[in-house]
């Protein structure tokens, strides 16, 4: 009984989260994008922050913190979205870009994918949406979204060669930014206008940019640490710089060699 109620609550919470996420896409296609952005961002933050170990797909084990359940039941949306149909269902439109500017040209990503097309193997494999340990051909480990995602969040299980949005619109691998932007709206907007991401070739004219997945591994988005390029050489004839601890430390650290055994304060 208790188990059932928890499961029901989890499903409610997830639907709310997805519904709000859908509104975000919608809001961005509106004319007053900035304002809608702000509103949608606040809602998403509100709805998603308390989630714990929620796993997709719905129907498997769902653990939802009571706080989220309470929030989802108690709090009404903080703003009225004019794009939501009267029956409460979000309309079937996707974010296609900002009204001021066309989307930037994206460097094709598909040629860099080692196993593309995915259907080469998957046409022989049955569709299996169950979370499990995958065959070694895949990215090992999914470290994105704090356990909220499984493959079918972004990949289309029935057409492995494409991705799909939360609403189910197919997006090819060269336009992964449309997928990422469903959650990372602020980043996507920055990337769209040039405040995030890497531009190639020229500073002028229409931009050519790397897609999100060119730099970020979508299954493990943060950059890895690595060795830096060598430090500047010391000019011929000069001694090497003293270690920074000597230069930057407080006076009492610089002169620790003057310390007397047993503590200086006792000997005064």
């Amino acid at each position: 009984m208790d188990q059932d109620r928890m499961r029901q609550a989890g499903r409610t919470a997830l639907l709310v989260a997805l519904w709000v996420g859908g509104n975000v896409c919608l809001a961005q296609s509106g004319s007053n994008a900035d304002r809608m952005d702000a509103i949608a961002g606040a809602e998403v933050g509100h709805a998603l922050r308390p989630t714990g170990a929620v796993q997709l797909p719905v129907g498997t084990t769902v653990v939802v913190p009571p706080a989220l359940v309470r929030d989802a039941q108690v709090h009404a949306p903080t703003a009225v979205d004019p794009f939501v149909a009267p029956d409460g269902q979000p309309p079937q439109t996707e974010f296609t870009g900002y009204p001021q500017r066309l989307p930037p040209t994206v460097v094709p990503r598909q040629p860099a994918l080692a196993f593309y097309p995915c259907a080469r193997c998957h046409q022989y494999l049955p569709v299996n949406a169950t979370p499990r340990v995958l065959a070694p051909a895949h990215e090992v480990g999914l470290n994105h979204g704090a356990g909220r995602f499984w493959c079918d969040t972004c990949h289309d299980l029935n057409d492995k060669n494409t991705l799909h949005t939360l609403r189910g619109t197919a997006v090819d691998f060269n336009n992964a930014w449309r997928i990422c932007g469903q959650c990372h709206q602020a980043r996507q907007k920055d990337w769209y206008f040039g405040g995030h991401g890497k531009r190639l070739y020229s500073w002028k004219g229409e931009p050519v940019r790397y897609d999100c997945t060119h730099c970020h591994n979508p299954h493990r988005p943060p950059f890895m640490q690595r060795k830096p390029q060598p430090p500047p050489p010391v000019r011929a004839g000069l001694a090497a710089m003293p270690p920074p601890v000597m230069l930057n430390s407080p006076v009492w650290v610089k002169h620790t060699d003057r310390l007397i055994e047993g503590g200086n304060h006792d000997k005064q």
């Binding site: 206008f193 040039g194 995030h196 690595r226």
Partner: protein, 341 residues
């Protein structure tokens, strides 16, 4: 290239065919010149050795800095960049190419790239994205023919503790196994291309100035090496060539610009020039191209649709030491959006 060397510049018209005479005179100048440097007593030995071998055994630099007397005189009497006629500029560029050929044994191309009309360049750097890889430094050194041992590097990546913005506490010799180091952040500093540049005011001979596209450039031939600009610059952006810049011949970038990355000589000051040889032709600066994280954004401040204008209008930005009134055209920003009114 022999044909290039013997080809007369504008100062000596009418001797184009006199290759033999030219070659003989050059040889004479080299030998007598090296004798002049090592002393009169060694005239006999110097006559046996060419200037190149004299340099190789470390006796002295070849006379005229390794150039012919004609080139040395041409350098000596070369006018200020802004006062050179087209013919004089062509002669100066040819001299630069000949000198590089003698020094490195390779053919470089040097030109006088003019500013593009309607551009005023600015730079923005995302400190949320900089991770201290120093790829920009490596790209800059390669692109701009900086001496590999002279500690002339246009970009200094400063490492600072989180929460600390005191540049006195920064460290730019950091070399850990992996970056970014936990608890540190990174601030690359290069020439800020001030719109009110103190270095230009400090130069006693007018060897540096603000070009029409907003880049502070240097005429290396006009620089007297007094280093007043270095003491005037609050960003440590200017560097003095204490020694002859040493560049492996196979690493010299042969595409050069007079006010940009042409090989420099000992005793002159140099600094970041926003890669004039690239940006004035529409390419990105080398540091932006090398940056693996996309932290660097370069663009035209006059273009309202440019990325840099988007950043200045939508991001929280700051400029280094803005209170000095130098009006840097180099902004630092973070991922955070500017608070909406």
């Amino acid at each position: 290239m022999t044909s290039n060397e013997s080809e007369p510049v504008a100062v000596e018209p009418g001797k184009a065919d006199d290759d033999l005479a030219n070659a003989a005179r050059r040889l004479f100048m080299q030998r007598v010149g090296s004798a002049g440097v090592v002393g009169v007593a060694s005239v006999a030995s110097a006559a046996a050795a060419t200037a190149a071998t004299a340099a190789a055994v470390g006796l002295a630099k070849p006379a005229w800095g390794g150039a012919t007397l004609r080139d040395a005189m041409g350098d000596l009497f070369q006018q200020h960049y802004q006062r050179m006629s087209d013919e004089e500029m062509q002669a100066a560029l040819a001299r630069i190419e000949r000198k590089a050929k003698r020094k490195f044994g390779i053919d470089i191309h040097c030109e006088d790239t003019k500013p593009m009309p309607g551009t005023y360049f600015g730079y923005a750097l995302n400190i949320s994205k900089c991770r201290g890889y120093r790829e920009c430094v490596a790209g800059c050194v390669r692109e701009n023919n900086q001496g590999r041992d002279s500690q002339v590097q246009y970009i200094r990546v400063l490492e600072m503790d989180n929460g600390d913005h005191d540049l006195n506490h920064s460290e730019h010799y950091f070399d850990p196994e992996t970056v970014p180091v936990e608890g540190k952040w990174y601030l690359p500093v290069q020439c800020q291309q001030c719109d009110n540049p103190p270095c230009v005011k400090a130069c006693p001979v007018g060897a540096t100035w603000l070009d029409p596209d907003g880049i502070v450039v240097i005429d290396y031939n006009w620089c007297i090496g007094c280093r007043m600009c270095m003491s005037a610059c609050p960003y440590w952006a200017r560097h003095f060539n204490w020694t002859e810049p040493q560049i492996p011949a196979d690493q010299v970038n042969p595409i050069t610009n007079y006010l940009g990355n042409r090989p420099r000589m000992k005793g002159v000051v140099e600094k970041c020039h926003f890669c004039t040889q690239r940006t004035r032709k529409g390419r990105q600066p080398a540091c932006q191209e090398a940056c693996p994280t996309g932290a660097r954004v370069f663009g035209n401040l006059l273009d309202p649709n440019s990325e840099i204008r988007y950043i200045l209008e939508h991001k929280t930005v700051f400029r280094l030491k803005e209170e000095l009134g130098t009006e840097p055209k180099f902004w630092y920003f973070t991922d955070e959006a500017r608070a909406r009114p």
